[in-house]
């Protein structure tokens, strides 16, 4: 078989990070090629370079034997036949399926859109893919899985020769996954090549022909899937030294801080949420419970339900052995001593245009009032100063808008906001996402200090190394269930990874 795509010696550096270092990738005509690696291995950067969203510092890309200009834009790449389907879809929700497939390239007659041709062409492609989707339906009315299929149908309109799929099954139900796999095989049969990024290793063995593994921005190995066991693949993906990061804490057993039983939820058609099934969990005061899982496994959904930000269909909660109602609002959760640091710092955490003082003190203003009415500026300044020192926040004035701070400092301000509420249970969702290495280590230290002060912590992270470094215990989520709990001391990357990707049976 001949190569459809060849990337040689791709290198890319960002300030302070070498994201890719001499990476090679060869994808044959009509094959499904798995691109494997942990979070931070460099997969996303490589995809962005292939799709034209970023330019490499060095290396060359050949499509069908011909060299591609590395400075091409994403649009030029699409026209050349490389189409990327991202995790966050690029569909316009309020317009029809057919228009989305041909947006910017609608068939025109006498200067007006030729609707009948548009719908006929769109219906033709949908039927090739065997999809029962009405081309006239608004994209908003489709399920997440159907939207994904529309993205693929749109790729077909470009006569794509290579389709890049970035974790396409992360948000799909198992029936939708079957449909996706059928379509991927259909495309392969038509000679289309597919780069398939997934963390679900069972998909690799059932769907993919060959694989390439990246680790720490480097090419590690490639080969035929049928010649390698899943354990082989995991061994190739992991292999960094965890012990360097581990700071074992000596923690005497303590009282139960939180216990939940039978937490279930049904998000209905809400996009990008997972239905939880019967989650049972307990955390002790002073304990750090890490939650591992793939995207869409339900960790964030669980955290938000525990905090009252989303609703659940069933579940019982005990705090310090007192049975209480599952919180119906964040205000109620905070009242009970449960606090959440949300996953998306800028979207759900910060008031970007407002001052550090306002951001940090907001939920604790009661503590700062005189005669229970007027917020004292003096007390607010002291409050901010106390946490600035304790958390090592770099800032010039407490009136600076939080948006002017670096990611790490923003996160510390939000952490201070949580800590000031004196929580009994603190949930941190991706506490170090998007912050630099130095700040990361500081946040880890703060997490340990907080636990030492007797707070029960639940930490969600997509970086396994981080979880292994800080957790006393690790709970593994998979498809809306808590499938296993492992001891933080003895857990290995390989063990947790295989639980995440394959469930308790593995």
């Amino acid at each position: 078989m001949s190569a459809m795509l060849e990337a040689r010696g791709i290198a890319k550096a960002f300030p302070g990070v070498r994201a890719l270092d001499g990476v090679n990738l060869q994808v044959d005509r009509g094959e499904v090629h798995a691109l494997l690696g942990e979070n931070g291995a460099g997969k996303s950067t490589l995809l962005k370079i292939l799709s034209g969203a970023q330019q490499p510092d060095a290396g060359e890309i050949l499509l069908n034997g011909g060299s591609l200009d590395v400075a091409q834009t994403p649009l030029e790449r699409q026209q050349a036949g490389i189409v990327t389907i991202y995790q966050e879809f690029n569909l316009l929700p309020d317009i029809s399926v057919a228009e989305n497939m041909y947006v910017g390239r609608e068939p025109v007659r006498y200067g007006l859109i030729d609707w009948s041709t548009l719908h006929r062409q769109a219906a033709g492609i949908l039927s090739i893919l065997g999809l029962q989707i009405d081309p006239r339906a608004a994209v908003r009315t489709l399920t997440v899985g159907e939207q994904q299929m529309v993205e693929i149908a749109r790729a077909m309109t470009f006569e794509a020769r290579l389709i890049i799929m970035d974790e396409p099954t992360a948000a799909l139900s198992s029936r939708e996954v079957d449909t996706l796999h059928r379509i991927v095989r259909e495309l392969r049969g038509r000679g289309v090549s597919i780069i398939y990024v997934t963390h679900r290793l069972n998909e690799v063995s059932t769907l993919c022909d060959r694989f390439t593994v990246l680790r720490d921005g480097r090419y590690i190995a490639d080969g035929r899937v049928c010649e390698h066991s899943t354990d082989d693949l995991i061994r190739l993906m992991v292999g960094r030294n965890v012990d360097l990061l581990r700071h074992r804490r000596h923690r005497p057993p303590s009282d139960e801080a939180l216990r939940v039983e039978g937490v279930s939820s049904d998000p209905g058609k809400r996009a990008r949420t997972t239905s939880l099934k019967d989650i049972c969990m307990r955390v002790q005061s002073g304990e750090i419970l890490g939650l591992a899982g793939l995207m869409g496994a339900g960790r964030t959904d669980f955290a938000r339900i525990l905090f009252g930000a989303d609703s659940c269909t069933a579940g019982t909660l005990w705090l310090s052995r007192d049975r209480i109602h599952m919180p119906r609002s964040p205000a109620e959760a905070i009242h009970h001593g449960i606090t959440l640091l949300p996953e998306h710092r800028k979207r759900d955490g910060c008031f970007l245009d407002q001052s550090i003082r306002q951001n940090m003190t907001l939920p604790s203003l009661k503590q700062l009032t005189r005669w229970k009415l007027f917020v004292s500026d003096r007390r607010a300044v002291q409050f901010v100063e106390k946490y600035r020192r304790a958390l090592g926040i770099a800032m010039s004035s407490d009136l600076t808008p939080i948006g002017h701070l670096s990611g790490g400092n923003q996160q510390k301000v939000l952490l201070a906001r949580c800590l000031a509420l004196a929580p009994k249970v603190l949930i941190l969702d991706e506490p170090t996402r998007g912050i630099d290495v130095g700040a990361k280590a500081e946040v880890h230290e703060l997490i340990r200090q907080t636990a030492d002060s007797g707070v029960a912590l639940i930490v969600i992270s997509s970086e396994l190394l981080e979880l292994l470094a800080i957790s006393d215990r690790i709970g593994v989520f998979r498809e809306g269930q808590l499938v296993a709990e492992v001891d933080g001391e003895t857990a290995t990357e390989q063990r947790v990874m295989s639980l995440m990707a394959m469930g308790a049976a593995a």
């Binding site: 008031f351 917020v375 670096s406």
Partner: protein, 326 residues
């Protein structure tokens, strides 16, 4: 623990100064220009006139500041003002002008009706999840219709002297409406600056999801600002009818534009989270000074409307320019 890098120092650049004090400077400049054209502009009598004129709109604008900071808008203030004023006068008329003191019953009725209108807007916005623009656009029409209905479109005259004192009297040489405006503005400023409630309104307008996740009762906070602006529209309606000596069915028509303009010229963003009563007062004064000054210069009133329109756009353009530079 080592401090991290990347802290940004606040810069005192020219554009930052423009952003902060620009509207005040424009106000000062206008006052100088008008005084040079007509020395009577700066007379005690004229200033009193300008301030009284500004006060009635200004009272509503203080409430509107809360609404706009919360990322909402209220287009119905003019109609709610007219409705409250007419309702109050109607109560007096219904009693055969026998309620004493008449102004007291009128004040309570006007404020109560205004608050009720605001409560309706708030509930419709938060419970039925209708965007405030639409809710209050409906209110703009509905309350005006209700006002016309009360007295079949006619005015209610013959408000007694005690009533009219509220619009035309003075205390220590300061016109009563100006006095009330000062009190309302001061209380509004203190609430925004120094109470939890005020800080919470900024949070809701800055990022509603982050506010909810910080444990704020976003729905109650959102509803409350419409009650505030409605109450103040009721108060302003009472003062306007006292000033005119009659309740007119068309009173308050077009006030929404002038009130929103005051708040926006004062530096608030319609996307919420920024602004303040201080800026709003300057904005209201700017519009008041401009229309008064243009009249004194003998400018055709049609041109006035054009100039005020241009000033609104210019003020916001200047602000967004300064923000980009700063």
């Amino acid at each position: 623990m080592e401090a991290l890098t990347n802290a940004v120092k606040p810069r005192r650049s020219a554009s930052a100064l423009v952003q902060r004090y620009g509207t005040g400077l424009v106000l000062l400049l206008l006052a100088i220009v008008f005084t040079s054209q007509n020395s009577r502009f700066l007379s005690f009598r004229n200033l009193g006139y300008i301030l009284t004129d500004v006060s009635i709109c200004g009272i509503v604008a203080v409430g509107m500041t809360f609404v706009i900071i919360s990322a909402g808008v209220d287009l119905a203030v003019g109609s709610a003002l007219g409705f409250a004023a007419m309702g109050a006068a109607w109560v007096i008329k219904l009693s055969g002008f026998n309620l004493h003191p008449a102004w007291f019953f009128a004040l309570v009725t006007a404020v109560g009706l205004g608050a009720m209108a605001g409560y309706a807007h708030g509930k419709i916005t938060t419970v039925l999840k209708v965007p405030p623009f639409i809710t209050t656009l409906g209110g703009l029409s509905a309350w005006r219709g209700a006002t016309l209905l009360i007295n079949h479109g006619g005015p209610i005259h013959d408000l007694d002297t005690g009533y009219r004192w509220w619009g035309n009297g003075s205390v220590l040489g300061i016109p009563v409406p100006v006095m009330i405006f000062s009190i309302v503005a001061s209380v509004g400023w203190v609430i925004q600056r120094y109470t939890r409630y005020g800080r919470h309104i900024y949070a809701v307008g800055g990022n509603v999801e982050a506010a909810r996740l910080s444990g704020l009762n976003v729905k109650a906070l959102t509803s409350s600002v419409y009650v505030i602006v409605g109450t103040l529209a009721g108060l302003a309606g009472f003062l306007l009818s006292a000033r005119l000596g009659s309740a007119e069915a068309t009173a308050g028509t077009g006030y929404e534009l002038r009130v929103i303009a005051s708040v926006v010229i004062g530096g608030a963003s319609l996307s919420g989270g920024t602004g303040g009563v201080g800026g709003t007062i300057v904005g209201a004064l700017l519009i008041g000074v401009l229309s008064n000054g243009l009249v004194m210069m003998g400018v055709n009133s049609y041109y006035q409307e054009i100039v005020i329109g241009l000033i609104i756009v210019l003020a916001v353009a200047l602000d967004s320019f300064a923000k980009r530079r700063g």
